[in-house]
């Protein structure tokens, strides 16, 4: 048996992940042809790499098909109910920073805060006869945030990509999405609400609770965490 570690399958997140492990004496590399999803790990025993999309890591961890995985805090919090009961946050990598925020059209000069946003939701519903739409893929996080803030008369519409474009395309009036530099917001004539900050996310190593790991694999699991100096 081995411990399975889910890692991002491409892009800058993968590169940065490789660098982070390099610095700790664990060497990850892609193998096979450029398009083949396989990878190698050197410097530790009993760890097998699984390349996957960061958005699948929370689900695979929860199902126990992988024991360790690298993904964003935002995805774990959105996809795993009561996440600390299911996984541990083992190491924050210090890259892949992004904020989950609520944004509205910049032309809404009358809207700065959630208080304004809520008032607009009420007036919008009255006039347009439907609840103001917020496009997002973070359904749970947004709903919980707005519930705490006491915002009413909105609805969430699903958007899995190009979310900033939904307002212009008139399939939503506002959005909730991850932003790092704010440039995409700007380019799409959107601005963040001053108090509509839902959470800050970064690339993080998550692992199952020790008690959820098979007895035979526990030695590998502990040795790996020692190697990367987490215990």
């Amino acid at each position: 048996m081995t411990i399975k570690l889910g890692i991002p399958s491409k892009g800058r997140l993968m590169e940065s992940t490789f660098d982070w492990f390099d610095a700790r004496g664990v060497y990850l590399s892609r193998t096979g042809s450029e398009r083949e999803y396989s990878a190698d790990i050197e410097g530790v025993e009993g760890i097998e790499l699984v390349l996957m999309s960061a958005s699948e890591v929370p689900r695979e961890l929860a199902a126990g098909r992988i024991q360790l995985g690298i993904t964003g805090t935002d995805l774990v919090r959105e996809k795993l109910v009561n996440w600390p009961k299911q996984v541990d946050s083992l190491a924050e990598f210090g890259f892949g920073h992004a904020d989950l925020i609520i944004a509205v059209p910049t032309c809404w000069i009358d809207v700065e805060t959630l208080d304004d946003f809520d008032a607009v939701c009420a007036a919008f519903r009255k006039k347009h006869k439907f609840r103001l739409r917020i496009a997002t893929k973070y359904h749970r996080l947004v709903r919980e945030f707005l519930k705490d803030a006491g915002v009413a008369d909105y609805q969430i519409v699903d958007s899995q990509g190009a979310t900033e474009g939904t307002v212009k395309n008139q399939t939503a009036e506002a959005i909730a999405d991850i932003t790092s530099s704010g440039e995409t917001l700007l380019a799409n004539h959107l601005k963040a609400l001053s108090d509509g900050f839902i959470l800050q996310s970064q690339a993080t190593l998550f692992g199952l609770h020790r008690e959820s790991i098979d007895q035979v694999d526990l030695a590998y699991f502990d040795a790996f965490l020692r190697k990367i100096e987490l215990v």
Binding site: T106, D115, A122, R131, A149, H189
Partner: protein, 362 residues
């Protein structure tokens, strides 16, 4: 298994009990149109209800309670007044606490179309109370109408009052609004400048989306009006605060409310209704001296009740969830009936919690 049979047996017994009191047994659909419930309760209900995709009929919801389907059955042409009872499962997702049941039986008793709300309130309360006889319970009661009447009587614009009433079930935003209307929150310099500007749309970003320039201008007019409106007075804030904190025996609570009435006469109708309800309860043999009144009861957990509210609690410490709840929901029926007034009051019992409480020796 044994537990389930006990619960089922008890629910049948309670169902018959209400039928014997003259209620008609009804069996609403398990699947309800999601759109209607979402429009009524808001997006939050997605976190609490099970949704199912249906390409033909649109998104469906496993009934999270009986209220809406019962109202609809009544409106499909039954005569007023009417009494209904039902017994069946409702479904609630439990995202926070896995120990709470996600499906459980509710047995209900509902009254529609009565001319005398005090009598109907008392009738439902007495029916639930009688159904629970032999079980040791603590009772909480309240009346959402007191706070609503107080808000309606504030010296403030209709706009401010309706904004406050919209958030009456969300205490936190209600308080923020109140603070703003009382002039306690400072406007940002940007907001000040915007409201003073002759041409606020100079240098504005391109217009995108459905909310157009007219909508934005309407709100700017509204914000300027609001800036010119005098703040809600300290005296009125004190009255509202005293009402939200009020929790006492009926005798003392009524005394307090009568004192507050001098500062805010708009609550006199609500006080009157409480007194008439108390008389109706007493004439039905309820010991009203042992009842307590909490003006904020039902404010966070019972979003569609807008009058009399009550809950029965078993005395064991683990039972924070009421074994029975109920109240008046005239505003909900008005909404579902497109403005037609249909007085409605009802209550539900949870046999599973009763069986659990019995097991704990309550």
């Amino acid at each position: 298994m044994e537990q389930d049979q006990k619960i089922y047996g008890l629910s049948q017994k309670l169902h018959r009990f209400f039928q014997d009191r003259g209620a008609l047994s009804i069996e609403p659909d398990l699947l309800q149109p999601a759109e209607l419930l979402l429009d009524l309760y808001g997006e939050d209900i997605r976190a609490r209800a099970y949704l199912a995709a249906d390409a033909l009929r649109g998104e469906q919801m496993l009934r999270p309670d009986y209220t809406v389907p019962v109202v609809q059955i009544h409106m499909e042409g039954r005569a007023n007044p009417a009494r209904y009872t039902y017994s069946g499962k409702v479904f609630r997702k439990q995202e926070q606490d896995a120990d709470r049941a996600s499906e459980y039986i509710q047995v209900g008793y509902e009254c529609f179309g009565d001319d005398d709300p005090a009598e109907a309130d008392a009738e439902v309360f007495t029916a639930i109370s009688a159904a629970l006889s032999g079980v040791e319970t603590e009772v909480k009661t309240g009346d959402m109408n007191v706070l609503m009447a107080a808000v309606s009587g504030l010296r403030a614009s209709e706009y401010r009052k309706s904004a406050l009433l919209r958030h009456i079930w969300r205490p936190r935003r209600f308080r923020t609004l109140l603070e703003r209307y009382a002039g306690k929150l400072k406007k940002s310099p940007e907001r000040q400048a915007l409201l003073m500007a002759d041409n606020p749309f100079d240098n504005a970003a391109p217009f995108v989306g459905i909310r157009n320039r007219d909508d934005i201008e309407d709100r700017l007019v509204r914000l300027r009006h609001d800036m010119a409106e005098p703040p809600i007075s300290e005296a009125e804030l004190d009255v509202l605060s005293a009402i939200t904190k009020l929790s006492d025996t009926y005798e003392k609570a009524l005394g307090t409310l009568q004192d507050l009435e001098r500062d805010l006469p708009s609550i006199s109708g609500a006080i009157n209704r409480i007194e008439r309800r108390l008389e109706a309860l007493a004439s039905r043999g309820i010991d009203t001296r042992s009842l307590t009144f909490e003006a904020s009861y039902g404010r966070t957990s019972m979003e569609y009740y807008d009058g009399f509210v009550f809950g029965f609690y078993c005395a064991t410490e683990v039972m924070e969830t009421p074994v029975a709840t109920g109240g008046r929901y005239d505003a909900l029926t008005r909404h579902l009936g497109n403005g037609i007034d249909l007085p409605a009051v009802g209550g539900v019992i949870r046999p599973d919690l009763l069986v659990k409480a019995e097991g704990q020796g309550a």
